[in-house]
Homo-oligomer: 358 residues x 2
């Protein structure tokens, strides 16, 4: 007994489920292996990963399983050199937190602020994952498609989904307002594109012909069944996988997530320079109006603070990326979580069908 | 062939669908008659309606149909006398718009700012509608329940849903962030309670034992099927009914809604004094940081401006309440809309079940 869509069949998945790429650690090699081996699409968030390391990890997956996996990159252009005054103001805003953790003030951010995107693209062409998805912008998909890679992009509004379709993308991820982590907005103000997953998925399903993957606030089989009811061909879950033992999220991140009993998330730009949703903590609250550098340079100057706080088990300064349905997070090995998601999806689909009476 | 839940059966509905109460005109007598006659729960938004008029309209429904209908009231306490300086500042912020429409400056708001709530409650007890729902706060439901009325309340977070359950409410409406009109928040900052419908519905279904009705961003049968998959026992749709010929929404409101091609909604307090979602227009944008009176007094001083603009066919100053899935609005008589929603829901439930393969 399994749940099959045209999209899950095309990708060779056991169920229409994508383990969301989560850059910066959470979507570890172990998590991708576990998720893909269990029949979902395990996915690397390689935004901050150098090409050689991308290749090493991809090879390590293939040494363990023949199952398909995905790679995601952030494809927004990097800023140029940042004026010294801007650097000083942004660093000054972090000073007291650094002092609190006995860290020196951050060094000014220096270009390149992230791995070279062209070299990362070449690594993707070299690796040839089953799926490649982009976030924060759109790039022509053809150079990847010609290697047999299925290419998807993220949309926070109808216009972004239509643009991806026009560019020739194979599928679109409708990233609803509930979603944890970075907002994928690239044509519209991200703060004007916080449409909820239920509304956004349906709007995009009705607006484009390519398959739609629903993302944001989906934590169990009922959520996956809802996504399918909206016409999505798969669901992408990130937060649900964060507490897995295989996930590379810091212990403090996992713990915070499992303790939350209400949607306590907030959107902040202060960790990376671009808006992303996470559990509200002292840093998010106090930094609300502080000066910041452009993405991803802000991430460079906050890196040591975040790492030191995570190491010290201090949740105040860690980017606790999480979606709005975080209170439904559970601590299960990835394979058990995926098996539970499959059972629950089938149960929800059946219960739904049983509501039809002659 | 029909869709039945325990909740829709208890209320005597043909399908698990509530036509949302929409105070201030849209949920007109004609709309309630049409919706209830077609098997949904037609609902009056009587927040701004005097008790005698409530009784007159309820009697008029009963003269046309035996079908159940609902009544909704805003139950937040009214503010006391408002200082003259505060009144002057709020009125001054409206002055240039009034001049533009050749209106005199508004008179200061005078208590009572809205119909007497106790008298409205007495009218509800007298009318004995099948369903009574409250918005913006919670009041003990027992005085209504003892007349055989089924009582529901609105929640924007888990805590609010739990509180309603504790108070003895029969059901809770999970009002997701997508929803048009006034946010129902009453325990938490409404701006911290913009959890999307998909996440919120599931969170509340998992948190309480009473039936949950999903609201926000649901415009078609796929949306209703998604709500059911999340464990909701019914869906409440407001925006979907606005363009109906029977709805009392102004022509300029209906037209704006049918023209929208993207989620262009925004939350504003400037029409009424409490946050509500509507299509962004000049008033919402320009008034963003303007001084305002407390709810519902702000509604008193903006009333003539809104009415004059609506009459002049000028969308700039009309409260164009709308949910985030507005681009899916269609212009159909209520009975045809409800028939389409039923067909679509059944089709979505069946298509969903067909995804299960042996």
């Amino acid at each position: 007994m399994k749940v099959v869509t045209a999209f899950s069949e095309r990708l060779g998945l056991r169920l229409p489920l994508i383990q969301a790429p989560m850059a910066g650690g959470p979507s570890s090699l172990e998590l991708v292996i576990a998720a893909s081996s269990a029949g979902a699409l395990g996915s690397f968030g390689f935004a901050y990963t150098q090409p050689e390391e991308m290749k090493r990890q991809a090879a390590a997956v293939r040494a363990k399983t023949d199952a398909p996996f995905g790679i995601n990159l952030f494809v927004s252009p990097q800023p140029g050199a940042i004026p010294a005054a801007e650097q000083r103001a942004a660093i000054e805003a972090l000073a007291r937190y650094c002092r609190e953790l006995d860290l020196p003030a951050p060094e000014p951010a220096k270009a390149p602020y992230a791995p070279d995107l062209e070299a990362q693209f070449a690594a993707v062409e070299d690796i040839k994952p089953r799926v490649f998805t982009v976030h924060l912008d759109s790039v022509p998909p053809q150079r990847f498609q010609k290697h047999g890679i299925v290419v998807g992009g993220s949309a926070n509004c109808i216009a972004e989904a239509k643009r991806l379709e026009e560019l020739g993308y194979d599928f679109v991820i409708a990233q609803g307002g509930e979603a944890g982590g970075h907002r994928g907005s690239y044509l519209r103000d991200p703060y004007q594109s916080l449409t909820g997953t239920l509304a956004l998925t349906r709007l995009i399903v009705r607006a484009v012909r390519i398959p739609v993957v629903a993302a944001g606030g989906i934590m169990d089989g009922a959520g996956i069944a809802a996504a399918l009811a909206l016409g999505a061909q798969a669901a992408q879950l990130g937060t649900a996988f964060l507490p897995c033992p295989e996930s590379g999220a810091s212990p403090v991140h996992k713990e915070a997530l499992l303790q939350v009993t209400e949607d306590e998330t907030q959107i902040t730009e202060k960790f990376s320079g671009k808006p992303a949703r996470g559990l509200a903590n002292r840093f998010i609250r106090e930094m609300a109006t502080a000066p910041q550098l452009a993405f991803p340079a802000q991430g460079n100057i906050t890196a040591k603070l975040r790492a030191a706080a995570a190491k010290a088990g201090n949740a105040d300064y860690v980017a606790l990326w999480a979606g709005q349905a975080s209170p439904l997070a559970r601590k299960l090995p990835a394979a058990e979580l995926i098996a539970a998601l499959e059972r629950e999806t089938i149960a929800a689909l059946r219960a739904n069908a049983a509501l039809i009476k002659e």
